[in-house]
Amino acid sequence: NINPCVQIIIHLLSVISQNSAGQFFSSGHTNNWAVLVCTSRFWFNYRHVANTLSVYRSVKRLGIPDSHIVLMLADDMACNHRNPKPATVFSHKNMELNVYGDDVEVDYRGYEVTVENFLRVLTGRLPPSTPRSKRLLSDDRSNILIYLTGHGGNGFLKFQDSEEISNVELADAFEQMWQKRRYNELLFIIDTCQGASMYERFYSPNIMALASSQVGEDSLSHQPDLAIGVHLMDRYTFYMLEFLEDIHPASKTNMNDLFKVCPKSQCVSTPGHRTDLFLRDPGSVLITDFFGSVRKVELTMDAINLTDPINPVNGEEQKEVYSYADQLPVSEIIHQKPKQKDWHPPDGFILGLWTLILLVFFKTYGIKHLKHIF
């Protein structure tokens, strides 16, 4: 005999809790990956390695394990002969935070950080002998964070002082990832000079991009350390990390706050972002959707009897069994017979060209030669 008002309230509460549960599961991803790349070598580019390692630390702190992080560092600053504090890479002068430490797993180091390796990691086209730690084993329910830092220009990023990756190549790589269903959503962050030019060409869905400066602007470094003698961090990454320090795995902060990080007064350059390819509203995207690894845990109070086979509820027919789609059907490719190509009539252009040639021939040499042809 419950009061109808209270009944309505209980009903409403259950609906609301179902909605929040629904919201909890609305992002659509089940695992998180991070690809963090530093593309510069040499001692005076210390800050790029420090940038990448600081993002690595934050991402690990928020829950993404080393097995899901691909860390690429183009040079070894910690063991550089010029480092007055060997085996350390410092990121913040005041806090003297050593981002190197004992538990850093660098997957691609030194000369292995090349454009080819980076694209192979993204698209998954690695030789079979590549160890798991060097692979991006994402699937169509993975949210991937990609962070690039180094020296860049209008439409390119410099790798290792010897080669470049262009924004077109990067956009095509992301399209390959989309077609091979290697990501659910992608967050692309780049901290270089003229970084916004790198995300101009993206055309695949579900990509959100942030850059530290617009085309024609330089990204500036933050603070020099007078004992080490180099700049320790870049401004954009520094303020982004200060922002991330306030994030913990249960934060509800969303992407709109990340877009506000490092305004022109602090960064001198104008950070930019691009959300037109992203299907969800950025206001509803949590920071932890990309930077953290929030495991969705479903609690149930019902006991499940595992000895009997599960009987379908409501007498539904048994659904068909799903099997995992082979991403790269190697056997088909190896034993493939050449496919019969359909015959297409020759292109109008080719026809026209041949007609022209014949006409010219006959005009020049006269129609009497026609009988020699036919």
Binding site: H81, R82, N83, P84, P86, L226, A227, G229
Partner: protein
């Protein structure tokens, strides 16, 4: 038809060339001189900037603490130097070993071709002592050098003391990526030459030295320190090296950047820079600084111990501490910090310094003129020679108005070419005599005249030079073919001489712009105007005034003027004689090319013009 193949147009061009030749030459000459003077005007210069990315902005906090202890070490060094009467080798070796360096010595000896009266030495024997600070974690592939000379008397004791103090401080740091070699060389340049030859396994000057036991990899940069007082008021940077070679401008930029950071007064050519470039006195100051650099570069001698490193493509400079009458004094700790900062920045280098200019002139420490801006001044002077050559060619190709017929013409052409050969050969033989005889015959000269060896050498050189003036009266007797004097023969000789001079000056200006420019300033006018038809006495006088020897005499007086130390004629003459002897010595000791160039190439060229003047 084309401009040059149409005979009418060609004739018009040629007539314009012959008509306007003299005015264009005069205009070009004054334009060249004006361009050169305009180089020091500040809006035409560029501010210096650091080109090497690896050296970047100066951000290290220098922490060298031990300036006073360094001075005490210097005093100890002075005492031991006085006790031993030369280089205290054992004390230095023990001291460096105590500071943790790997110490080695090198002994060398050299007998000079004739006694050096400036430094009072003839048979030189000495020892270099150097200690290598090995980089703690790096492979031994690259090195930096810090050197201080062991000078007689009270000079440079503080330099050696500071060197040892820095060695001890550097030894305690772990961030060195290159080996650092601390060198104390005896007999300044001779010792340095012996050390460099031993280090690079070359023997170009005939010195005998013991091989080096320890080595440090290829040297990336070197600094030489000269400090003779406990406190200084300013630091002077010396860049000019052997044969006028200069180190990479980035080294000067590095020095200037650190001077500004630490707040030490820094000068170049001993002159402080001024901010009032638009006033006349400001411009004068800049011109004086630039002219000093031009003079020093033209002399081809190394103006500091660093000068010999440049030949091995090692960027090097000398830093001199100057104590003059100023209020603000800088102590040894600050100098130590400046050097520490410079070495930390050089430590960051990944390749040799190559991003900045190798050819430049500096009207002040913060401004420079690159080769692209100063070469047109020389180009304008060289154009005069080419115009003159074209004019002569045109004159030679127009048939003569005299009544010689065609048959005799061919003989005449052959005749003139061969007759050109005679003056050429004789002038060059005189040049060879000027080069070789003074040193060879110094003993006979000393026997017959009451002079010392040095004076004998110099006076023999001047005598041979003057004897060359008598030549034209004799060469006429040695024509190979025919005795018909030819009025056109001098044109062929002048054409050859003008082209020869153009090539010679061009090549010299490429290597040593200052020398080429100064020679061009005096030789180009005389090459342009001299013919057998100008008034003989006046022209002879002008030719002698514009000859290389007199140019040198005037340069000596001018150089002293620029340094605000004008000399009387007597002292100037003695200075001139010592300059000639130094030039000859530099050539045999270090391979300086100025003396052979003047004796073997420029002087014969000038003799050819003298010959033309007296052509009969």
């Amino acid at each position: 038809m084309g401009l040059l193949s149409d005979p009418n147009r060609r004739r018009a061009l040629i007539s314009m060339l012959t008509r306007l030749n003299a005015p264009i030459c005069v205009v070009c000459y004054f334009a060249g001189v004006a361009w050169f003077m305009g180089l020091a005007f500040e809006p035409f210069t560029l501010r210096t900037y650091m080109s090497e990315n690896a050296m970047g902005s100066t951000m290290v906090e220098e922490r060298f603490p031990a300036g006073e202890r360094a001075l005490a070490t210097g005093r100890e060094f002075a005492a031991h130097k006085k006790k031993v009467g030369g280089m205290p080798v054992d004390w230095l070796v023990k001291n460096m070993q105590d500071r943790g360096l790997e110490v080695f010595t090198q002994s060398f000896s050299r007998t000079l071709p004739f006694p050096d009266e400036n430094k009072e030495r003839y048979i030189v024997k000495g020892t270099n002592v150097y200690g290598i600070l090995r980089a703690p974690r790096a492979p031994r592939t690259e090195a930096l050098v810090l050197s201080a000379p062991c000078s007689p008397g009270d000079n440079n004791n503080q330099a050696v003391g500071l060197l040892l103090g820095l060695a001890q401080y550097f030894r305690n740091q772990i961030y060195w990526a290159k080996d650092i070699i601390f060198l104390v060389n005896e007999h300044d340049l001779i010792g340095m030459q012996a050390w460099l030859e031993g280090y690079h396994h070359t023997n170009t000057t005939g010195m005998s030295w013991s091989p080096l036991q320890g080595r440090g990899g290829s040297i990336q940069a070197a600094l030489s320190l000269e400090l003779s007082s406990d406190v200084i008021t300013s630091l002077d940077l010396v860049l000019e090296g052997l044969n006028g070679q200069l180190p990479n401008l980035d080294l000067a930029n590095l020095f200037y950047a650190f001077c500004q950071k630490i707040g030490v007064l820094c000068t170049i050519q001993g002159k402080l820079q001024r901010n009032d470039w638009d006033s006349v006195s400001g411009y004068n100051h800049a011109v004086q600084t630039m002219m000093l650099m031009v003079m020093k570069q033209a002399s081809g001698r190394p103006w500091g111990d660093h000068g010999l490193f440049l030949r091995y493509h090692i960027e090097a400079a000398t830093i001199k501490g100057v104590n003059s009458f100023r209020q603000y004094k800088t102590d040894a700790t600050t100098i130590g910090r400046l050097l520490e900062g410079m070495y930390r920045k050089l430590n960051n280098l990944l390749e040799r310094l190559h991003q900045s200019y190798f050819f430049y002139l500096m009207p002040s420490l913060s401004h420079f003129v690159s080769i692209g801006y100063y070469m047109p001044a020389f180009g304008l002077l060289a154009v005069i020679l080419l115009l003159r050559a074209l004019d002569l060619w045109v004159q030679l190709n127009t048939p003569p108005s005299t009544t010689e017929d065609g048959v005799a013409d061919i003989d005449q052409v052959r005749h003139t070419l061969l007759s050109v050969l005679t003056p050429l050969v004789i002038s060059h033989l005189t040049g060879v005599a000027l080069y070789a005889l003074p040193i060879r015959f110094q003993e006979t000269a000393v026997e017959h005249f009451p002079v010392s060896e040095t004076e004998a050498v110099v006076l023999t050189a001047i005598a041979i030079y003057t004897a060359g003036l008598a030549l034209p009266h004799n060469t006429h007797r040695y024509y190979i073919v025919s005795t018909v004097p030819d009025v056109r023969g001098w044109r062929v000789l002048k054409l050859v001489a003008v082209l020869y001079l153009a090539v010679l000056l061009g090549c010299t200006a490429l290597i040593n712009f200052s020398l080429g420019f100064i020679l061009a300033l005096t030789l180009v006018p005389l090459a342009a105007f001299v013919t057998p038809h100008v008034p003989k006495v006046l022209s002879a006088f002008i030719l002698v005034i514009l000859s290389p020897a007199c140019t040198l005499l005037f340069s000596v007086f001018f150089f002293q003027e620029l340094q605000d130390m004008p000399v009387s004629f007597q002292d100037g003459w003695l200075l001139y004689l010592s300059v000639i002897s130094q030039g000859i010595l530099d050539h045999s000791l270090y391979g300086s090319l100025v003396y052979p160039l003047i004796a073997l190439l420029v002087y014969p060229c000038w003799l050819l013009f003298w010959n033309i003047l007296f052509w009969k």
